[in-house]
């Protein structure tokens, strides 16, 4: 469970009072709060944070590839509450075998492009996304460029092919 120094902060305390199983770990590093949640709890936790803790802004969604470790991906939600002047990073571990998460576009409309970018760059799918396409790379592109096993140079496409 969460360490005491984190549970003394208002947001983790409110989450623990609402649903003790919603968060499975967290850390407070250099004043930045990180909470870990699970795939199942993600949508309800996001709705709770937006509704009850005024996290009206989703600053960004991104991903970290921990290759070759498993679970391979960490999807990170950078949340921000303007009234409380509070920032929070919500993380979900995603295994490479079943790289998918429920979409949070229903909670914040702005999640749309960020989730498309994570899919484009890392290949993590978002279930229930209204427009699940690539965003930066062309539609015919194979592979996901920001994965650690995707080469920086020497992949099979070049500008001459186009």
């Amino acid at each position: 469970m969460l360490p005491a120094e984190i549970l003394s902060l208002p947001t983790p305390a409110a989450i623990a009072a609402w649903d003790g199983a919603a968060v499975d770990g967290g850390s407070l590093d250099r004043g930045e709060l990180v909470l870990w949640t699970t795939r199942e709890k993600l949508p309800s936790l996001c709705r709770f944070l937006k509704g009850q803790r005024q996290f009206t802004r989703l600053s960004a969604v991104t991903c970290i590839d921990r290759f070759p470790l498993e679970p391979r991906f960490e999807v990170v939600y950078l949340l921000h509450s303007i009234p409380n002047n509070e920032r929070l990073r919500l993380k979900v571990a995603v295994p490479s075998q079943d790289a998918s998460l429920p979409s949070v576009c229903g909670v914040w409309t702005g999640a749309n492009w960020y989730e498309r970018e994570v899919f484009d760059m890392f290949g993590v799918r978002f279930e229930g996304h209204p427009d699940p396409r690539r965003i930066l790379m062309p539609d015919y592109w194979e592979g996901h460029p920001l994965r650690k096993d995707f080469p920086v140079h020497g992949h099979k496409y070049s500008y001459k092919d186009e």
Binding site: T56, N85, G110, P145
Partner: protein, 409 residues
């Protein structure tokens, strides 16, 4: 396989409804090479007469994989990549990246460097806003303002060149402080520029405020309520023009911004005209900050004393054994950053910019995620366009003030 046009975008073929009796819609491609998109943005518009019924932005034409490249470079080298994302707010980008990495390194930045960073970031904001003003006015048919604004920009670029030797890709703010000692006479050059600026800004504002064509094309155009903007992830002047006094410089002060006096301009109309007024006032407030920084610039070193991370002075390296060892280690192994992650948001001219840096303890970043304001702001485009005239889309597009290099990275 050679991609055909419909393979590239199969939706193009589906766009026109074939059903008999359905309203006739026309699909129009705006961009990727369109003068008012200020870069290569493509918007697929579905039109009913002159009314836009659907707008779909397509981005990625300027994607250069900066985040991927950052993982293959050393920590200090990534600074040069940050210039190239948003080429109008290069110093804000440098600053945001440097702050995040310095947080991981735990380096204390001397006051002089902090104040100089504030001064440069504000000059950069003025530069970005005058370029925006000139091009926005040009889009709406007011050509004179464009020439005046680019005259100011030229003076600013000369100042940046004086500091760093480069006009646009300055890379002047580095991890640990500044890249070089500020040049002799820098304060005179900045003071000469900033003294004349407020009167000029008044003049430019009057040129547009008393221009009936500009007023007709901006007032009441592309309004969107604050809740929608926040929900879509918009930041910066667009939010402040919708009535929310939220500025990261005040809310989460960084780099000694808490020692400066300035106001956050706010309007409530949330139309193109309000965004124009907010940005004009921001130029004046930035000029105030620059003047305060000029008057109170502290004495002292321009980079941090952190031998484990920054190259030692040449003189020390030649005379002290320890400095020589550090120099050797940094040159051969690169700067090592302790494992961990940090995100420090910064108010760039366009909104919240932040670098989410993840380190595994080595001399290269494990991941650098760039939360760029233009990407977030551009998501509001369909809601700003839909239900409005084609002519208004140009005004709406200009009022968002995005840089495509910042969107695509």
């Amino acid at each position: 396989m050679q991609p055909t046009d419909t393979a590239l975008d199969p939706r193009l073929a589906q766009e026109t409804p074939e059903a008999p009796g359905a309203p006739r819609r026309m699909v129009l491609n705006m961009g990727p090479q369109h003068p008012s998109t200020h870069g290569v943005l493509r918007v697929v518009l579905e039109l009913d007469g002159e009314i836009v019924t659907k707008a779909r932005p397509e981005i990625g034409y300027l994607h250069t994989g900066i985040e991927k490249q950052a993982e293959a470079l050393g920590w200090q080298q990534v600074v040069t990549l940050t210039d190239r994302m948003d080429y109008l707010a290069n110093l804000s980008n440098n600053l945001a990246y440097a702050l995040s990495v310095e947080k991981l390194l735990g380096i204390e930045i001397p006051p002089m460097a902090q104040w100089m960073r504030v001064l440069l970031a504000e000059l950069c904001r003025i530069n970005s806003h005058v370029v925006w003003l000139g091009t926005h006015a040009l889009d709406l048919g007011a050509m004179t303002v464009f020439f005046y604004c680019f005259r100011e920009r030229e003076e600013l670029l000369r100042i940046f060149e004086m500091f760093s030797g480069q006009r646009m890709m300055t890379s002047y703010i580095r991890i640990g402080g500044l890249a070089l000692e500020p040049p002799r006479g820098w304060d005179r050059a900045v003071r000469n520029f900033i003294r004349g600026l407020p009167a000029k800004v008044d003049e430019y504002e009057a040129l547009l405020k008393e221009n009936p064509i500009f007023l007709k094309r901006t007032q009441g155009v592309a309004e969107l309520p604050l809740e929608r903007l926040l929900d879509l992830g918009v930041t910066g002047p667009m939010i402040r023009a919708a009535g929310l006094a939220w500025d990261i410089r005040k809310a989460e002060p960084y780099s000694s911004y808490d020692q400066f006096h300035f106001q956050i301009p706010v309007r409530t109309e949330s139309d193109v005209y309000a965004r124009f007024l907010v940005r004009m006032e921001e130029i004046r407030q930035s000029a105030r900050i620059v003047e305060q920084a000029l008057d109170g610039m502290p004495e002292g070193p321009w980079k941090a004393d952190a031998p484990h991370a920054l190259l030692p002075d040449r003189e020390k390296m030649k005379t002290q054994m320890e400095a020589l060892i550090y120099h050797f280690k940094i040159v051969t192994e690169g700067m090592r950053v302790p494992a961990g992650e940090a995100y420090v948001p910064v108010e760039s001219p366009r909104g919240e910019i932040g670098f989410y840096v993840v380190s595994d303890g080595s001399s290269q970043p494990w991941r650098v995620f760039m939360r760029t304001p233009s990407f977030g702001n551009l998501q509001a485009l369909p809601e700003l366009f839909e239900g409005r005239l084609i002519a208004d889309t140009i005004a709406a597009l200009g009022s968002m003030d995005f840089v495509l290099g910042d969107v695509d990275r």
